[in-house]
Symmetry: C2
Subunit: 330 residues, 2 copies
């Protein structure tokens, strides 16, 4: 930097200012500095800038579900959106270890400007910990609460559960089952609640309620055995497409035809749901919107940390493929 300043015949401040937007520099000075900078191949060091400004342009993404294809979209969008805005993503892989303390410390040491906690399988206290530590945080896919003290971007899981019941009712199903994701996830609980409640209202019998151990094909497959073990069910609402596909294969392996003998309704609408071999009817969660909104929000918070906690919910919709029978005329 000093060299650039000398070559351009100006002070270091001038150099700094040409590379800081919004700073006051005359056109002539800027030109001189830019020429000198180019000649010397100079770029300001973001590290040094961070130290001085106390801003790093780094946003942490905390996730614990690295094996679900749904997260491909998350990673893709998160990185490209941040990039577009001049920020950078710092990934934190939470698999296994979920004590907030350690990670709060970590992200604090790296002085990230903000954090997106993208998970529905962790207690809300996890995201809150960042808040308490003074780090702007968005809880994406999180549980929203009226007395929120943290930004939440996601969907109304309870309503989605209702939607599933509604979908079943429209197609004339009478006895149905729930095959949720991990039971401890708030999203699972909320969806289950909505599903059961609305099923009752619509006169559906929820014959069975099971939960897969995690969001995997294998877990879905195994849990499906439990569903099939007992009274017959006409349709199953799954907590995740991956789980659903495992369940479908378990059903097929048991000789059942889809949707003739048993129907399936998934959740998320991952790419594979559209594949011929599954043609899964599923509730689509607008992941793109959710991530874009989260990024926008976290960047907004960096600029104005005092912004009061906001809840942003996006609508889900049923994507009709072939794993449920068609809507009955009634």
């Amino acid at each position: 930097m000093k060299e650039v300043a000398e070559l351009a015949g100006v002070s270091r401040s001038a150099v700094s200012r040409t590379f800081t937007d919004g700073a006051s520099v005359s056109a002539r000075t800027r030109e001189k500095v830019e020429k000198a900078a180019k000649a010397l191949g100079y770029r300001p060091s973001l590290i040094a800038r961070s130290l001085a400004t106390n801003r790093t342009k780094l946003i942490g993404l905390v996730a614990n579900n690295f094996q679900n294809p749904a997260f491909l979209d998350v990673f893709d969008l998160f990185t490209s959106e941040l990039q577009k805005r001049g920020f950078r993503p710092l990934l934190v892989n939470l698999s296994g270890d979920t004590s907030p303390k350690k990670f709060v410390e970590l992200l604090k040491q790296y002085s990230v400007d903000g954090v997106i906690v993208a998970t529905s399988t962790l207690p809300t206290s996890f995201a809150n910990a960042f808040q308490t530590a003074g780090i702007p945080v968005i809880h994406t896919f999180g549980k929203f609460q009226a007395n929120a003290n943290v930004h939440v971007v996601g969907i109304d899981n309870e309503f989605c559960g209702s939607m599933a019941a509604q979908t079943f009712a429209e197609r004339g199903y009478k006895s149905v089952a729930l095959l949720g994701g991990p039971e401890t996830a708030t999203s699972t609980q909320d969806r289950a609640a909505g599903f059961v409640k609305t099923s009752e209202q619509l006169g559906l019998r929820v014959v069975k309620t099971c939960f897969a151990e995690n969001y995997t094909y294998q877990a879905g497959r195994e849990a499906m055995h439990e569903v099939m073990d007992g009274e017959d069910v006409e349709a199953v609402f799954c907590g995740d497409d991956l789980i659903c596909m495992g369940a479908m294969d378990a059903a097929r392996a048991a000789g059942k035809a889809i949707p003739e003998d048993i129907g399936f309704l998934g959740f998320n609408d991952i790419a594979m749901a559209g594949w011929d071999a599954y043609a899964l009817t599923t509730i689509r969660q607008p992941i793109r919107d959710i991530i874009m909104s989260s990024v926008e929000l976290v960047v907004g918070m960096v600029e104005n940390p005092a912004r009061s906690p906001e809840i942003r919910l996006f609508p889900c919709s049923v994507i009709d493929r072939g794993s449920l029978r068609p809507i009955t005329g009634n």
Copy 2:
């Protein structure tokens, strides 16, 4: 830091030294400092440290294939392995824009300690650009060359192509086709070369050679129409599982049974290859080994940048499921 020093009754150097391992501090001083630090909730700022040491403990991961499930493993392992070693991952999403200049600048500004370029769809010059810029770089999934001047970790694509031909020959296939990934990818070219060469040697006829536009189900599906358009083929070697699954569904839609009417051999062994609906026989690329090795190598380079370029290749193996007919006695 100053406060901690005062509270502990020592100099700032002493504080710095207690938090730098390998530094010379007496047990008494360390204790005093640690007590004071705890009382004040102090942690050294990594930013400031980076500025002083010129080391950031940040490793860049440059990728351009965020939609392939194979990359879930990459992200998972990359982040968790780095984490384990006290480094942090900085993701760079290359989708679309592939001019090296910009990204070299970017990573230089962030002063990453090293970069892993994980892609086979970019020219080797891309990875080299980092090298020239003085940034330690590993080209993962890259093309290896005898006169390498950059570290490469991956597989022997040409040999894998041969392996595919071998696999077809063992099962008595006579006329086969190649349905590769994007034609410009070095991995595609190498696999094609190996496949064609060994096919000839073994007396197989390569009836058709096509390339999918990108690594997606849809592209595979479309490209398969081209393969089926013309002389009959008994088996298809696909450049990627995703492409292969699309191709399989196109074949099924055309009324062909797998493996009775047509056989498929995939590449990568992604999770979905094991799903009942596809039961794909595929060549497994040991992604875990490749990533772990890349991480180890890049961290090694940070410690000793002069390390001379190394090529690390891992063996692939055929995972036999149900999309090819069984090995003939012969």
